[in-house]
Point group: C2
Chain length 107, copies 2
């Protein structure tokens, strides 16, 4: 029941037109940030880009940093660091989950 909700944020379901509306960015900008490796939309079999809500959030962060005069290269590094931290947190939680399950199994 809770497993579902959070997956909505990461599910790649929107095409660029909606993302454009949600972020206020131009398609040109959205595609350019992808080329610079700031975000990673998926593609349909026929090549149409698909974005998630978290991609939208990320684009708004990117837009903020750009406005501050930060170059895409630096933003890329920052985001990569953030992503790695999140991945680590997820791994930690997984381990706790395992331990927890193991503990309860013993009862």
């Amino acid at each position: 029941m809770n497993t579902n909700e959070s997956s909505y944020r990461d599910k790649k379901v929107m095409s660029i037109g909606i993302v454009k509306e949600l972020t206020g960015l131009s398609e040109r900008q959205i595609r350019y940030y992808e080329k610079r490796q700031l975000l990673f939309p998926e593609r349909t079999d026929t090549g149409i880009r698909k974005y998630s809500f978290s991609d939208v959030e990320r684009l708004m962060e990117i837009a903020d940093r750009i406005e501050e005069g930060v170059q895409t290269h630096e933003i890329r590094t920052e985001l990569a660091k953030k992503d790695e931290k999140k991945a680590k947190d997820v791994r930690d939680q997984m381990i706790r989950g395992q331990i927890n399950a193991h503990f309860h199994q013993k009862l």
Copy 2:
């Protein structure tokens, strides 16, 4: 922070192709259920339908009921009842929120 998350479920952002993939239904079926008033996607200025994750969930429920041999007309009634109940729950929560806010304001 929490206000955002739940809104993802109801935000109309997907076009019919994705909904088709997510639900396994045909475009024909999805559009037909709309005509029968079982769901209410939004439209872009140019007439393209946009669906939310909750629409996707709803379509899966609809598909189940159809498989059980229930007619769209009945499903419509069932869903309307459910929707009304949810709306009522939301109103109740709003009131509780008001009371709560009022209470804390007094302190």
